[in-house]
């Protein structure tokens, strides 16, 4: 028996247990998101995927779809809030797109474009975060971490290694490497790990690759976010 709900007036079929995000993605409708990834359990932390379901705001990556539900996503009101959240992510870290090698492949940048973000709007925090270059193959640039926990989930649930963890609370939350020294070279992390592939921004980077892909051929040059079903 197929059941449906409406998303911005469009009828979306779903199966029992599916979230709004999963059903929408399957139906080819894009909802902005950063901490959601189809292969992992939802985390529900970034709130970019917020929609109004039957008039109430909720994270679409964690909210289960229900028959007859009326969901609003692409409204000016909701996108204004998404834009503000994105702006906050930009100022909390050190994101300098023009000199970042993830530029053009970065989901945060692509989302900012998608939402029509013109400036960071808020004052920059300019946090002081070091890079970890100890691993021979991989560089960690914590300046750009948006705490989506995808690497934490990938390392724990897929690689069975638990290399990463989020530590601290509230605004003090930060990503750590699970080693006594805190250094990536003192873990069994490898470039082949799933965790090496999932970072939506420019934290977990293959060394010495840099700007190998020319402008015009980068992921989001070819297909802007939102025009692809999965968004990445």
């Amino acid at each position: 028996m197929s059941q449906t709900f409406t998303l911005d007036g469009k009828s979306i079929p779903f199966e029992d247990g599916q979230t709004i995000m999963q059903a929408a993605t399957k139906a080819g409708v894009f909802i902005p998101h950063l901490c959601y990834h189809p292969e992992f359990k939802p985390h529900g932390s970034c709130k970019l995927c917020t929609v109004k379901a039957n008039g109430r705001q909720t994270a679409s990556c964690t909210m289960r779809a229900m028959a007859g539900m009326v969901v609003e996503s692409e409204t000016e009101e909701i996108n204004a809030e998404r834009r503000a959240l994105t702006q906050m992510l930009f100022v909390e870290g050190n994101h300098f797109c023009p000199s970042c090698e993830k530029s053009g492949h970065c989901q945060l940048q692509a989302t900012a474009y998608h939402l029509g973000m013109m400036s960071p709007h808020f004052d920059h925090f300019f946090p002081n975060r070091a890079v970890d270059a100890s691993h021979p193959e991989v560089l960690l640039d914590f300046n750009r971490c948006i705490l989506c926990s995808l690497c934490v989930r990938a390392s724990r649930d897929v690689d069975g290694k638990n290399v990463f963890a989020l530590s601290g609370r509230g605004i003090k939350t930060h990503l750590i490497v699970n080693a006594k020294s805190g250094k990536l070279s003192d873990t069994d992390f490898s470039l082949a790990d799933k965790a090496a592939q999932v970072c939506p921004v420019g934290v977990i980077l293959t060394k010495r690759k840099g700007f190998a892909v020319p402008i015009g051929e980068r992921s989001y040059d070819k297909q802007p976010i939102g025009e692809t079903v999965e968004g990445r």
Binding site: A130, V131, K207, K209, G210, F211, P214, I215
Partner: protein
């Protein structure tokens, strides 16, 4: 070669005139002049606020990020920094010799940059002074005034610049903040369509560049009294020269001559630059003062840029530019020309050479090859040098075993010209300001001298001459007695 007028004997009794900021000079420049009650000049200093924090800022960053990151240093010639850094990092990744395609694509990018920067400097920033006179009506002395009086010249200026920017876009991916050069080579080649698009216009570009040389040559020759002496000082000069002593903006060895044209050093591998050049710090300026070690601080300073390059090389490899070089050398009478306003003439000869080289490269199928990368044995230290539009540019890096930058040293063109620009300003102050009331027209003379060198400061937002100028006269007691400003 003296420090005359750098420091007054009794500064406490003198009036201070500050020209701040200098208009149509990119970024922040300030001239301070100390005058006594009779308006006699006692001290003149050009202060340039350079973006010094940068070398610290890139410490601890991964090396492959640097060629893109350093472009933030300059809004007018980011490509020069992009390429100088890439050349230094070629050494780090052991890429001793690039593939022919990569080298030619980089050269194309750089010569496109030369063309656009020289066109911008000459047409937008300097032609108002040269066509209308240094103390002509200030409301017309700008590119808008040029467009009204000489629409064809203004239009060509715009199109020459646009063409250069287009060359940059197809080689670097974007007109500003591109990524084309990477340590060990390039990340893209040209498509046939991109090349053909440029080929369509290149013959106009060469012709207009020839016309530009003739325009400035005529202006110069018509008024030798002014053009051969304005702001003049004698000095050593330096640049890189290519194969057989050819004029070369992309690669070569260091050559320096004294004020009579006698060789000081030649064929120097720039990896060894710090054995030949030292930088002096002076308490009153943020910008350092480089000099040749062998001659010492007092006599070892030098100038760089078009006037140095065109007189330092043995010849130019392209026919039209070589013809113009010979005309220039003949006019100078077989001895080096030192007049700052001759920078403009030589700058246009260089623009013509850039256009001719671009034309030749566009006929070379290597530009379409995707054989773009080489690597070799990893090194821990590298120097990259390039002739940027404004002169020799040094980038020097050390990288640790984790691939992070541990040391960066940059000597930018404007730093190389620091003492030279100060000398020119002092000469003009002595000649035009002594004993006279200070007017806008007189102050513009100072700026004309600075602009001849085309100092490359950090900000491109004032390119249309809109930067406000303020002048303050301060009496011997330090009281403001008069101020002058324009916007």
């Amino acid at each position: 070669m003296t420090y005359n007028l750098e420091t007054a004997e009794h500064p406490e009794r003198l009036r201070r005139v500050a020209i701040d900021p200098v208009s149509r000079v990119e970024g922040h420049g300030k001239v301070t002049i100390l005058l006594d009650d009779q308006n006699k000049v006692h001290q003149v200093r050009l202060h340039i606020v350079e973006f010094r924090g940068f070398e610290k800022f890139i410490q601890g960053r991964p090396y492959w990020e640097v060629p893109v990151m350093v472009q933030r240093l300059c809004g007018i010639c980011p490509v020069s920094h992009h390429l100088a850094a890439s050349k230094a990092l070629d050494i780090i990744v052991g890429a001793k010799k690039l593939t022919p395609a990569a080298e030619k694509l980089r050269r194309l990018m750089h010569y496109g940059q030369m063309l656009q920067s020289h066109a911008l400097h000459f047409f937008h920033l300097c032609s108002p002074d040269l066509l209308f006179g240094f103390d002509s009506d200030v409301t017309k002395r700008n590119i808008v005034g040029v467009a009204a009086a000489h629409p064809e010249i203004a239009k060509r200026g715009v199109l020459l610049r646009k063409f250069g920017q287009e060359v940059i876009r197809v080689t670097a991916g974007k007109r500003v903040h591109g990524t084309g050069a990477v340590p060990g080579g390039m990340n893209k080649c040209l498509t046939v369509a991109e090349r053909d698009e440029l080929l369509k216009d290149i013959y106009h570009i060469v012709q207009w560049s020839r016309d530009a040389v003739h325009l400035i040559q005529k202006v110069h020759i018509q008024d030798p009294g002014l053009y051969n002496s304005f702001g003049i000082f004698r000095s050593n000069f330096m640049s890189i020269v290519g194969h057989n002593g050819d004029l070369d903006f992309y690669h070569g060895t260091l050559r320096a001559r004294d004020d009579n044209g006698k060789m000081i050093f030649d064929g120097v591998d720039y990896q060894q630059y710090d054995k030949y050049i030292e930088e002096e710090v002076r308490s009153w300026s943020y910008m350092k003062f480089p000099y040749f070690k062998s001659l010492g601080k007092e006599h070892g300073w030098y100038k760089v840029g078009p006037l140095a390059r065109v007189q330092n090389c043995n010849q130019i490899s392209t026919p039209f530019a070589e013809h113009e070089r010979k005309e220039f050398v003949d006019y100078a009478g077989g001895t080096p020309m030192h007049a700052p306003l001759a920078y403009h003439w030589t700058r246009m000869i260089e623009m013509l050479h850039a256009a001719e080289v671009i034309k030749d490269l566009l006929h070379d199928d290597d530009l379409l090859s995707d054989n773009l990368m080489v690597e070799g044995e990893r090194q821990s230290e590298g120097v990259g040098v390039i002739e940027a539009p404004r002169g020799t540019l040094f980038h020097h890096y050390r990288v640790d075993e984790n691939d992070l930058i541990t040391m960066a040293n940059l000597i930018v063109s404007t730093t190389n010209n620091n003492q030279a620009m100060n000398e020119a300003v002092r000469h003009v102050a002595r000649r035009y300001l002594n004993g006279r009331e200070v007017t806008e027209g007189l102050l513009n003379h100072i700026e004309v001298a600075i602009r001849a060198f085309d100092p490359c400061l950090s900000c491109a937002t004032h390119a249309l001459g809109k930067m406000p100028l303020s002048v303050e006269l301060i009496d011997p007691e330090g009281q403001l007695v008069h101020s002058l400003s324009r916007s």
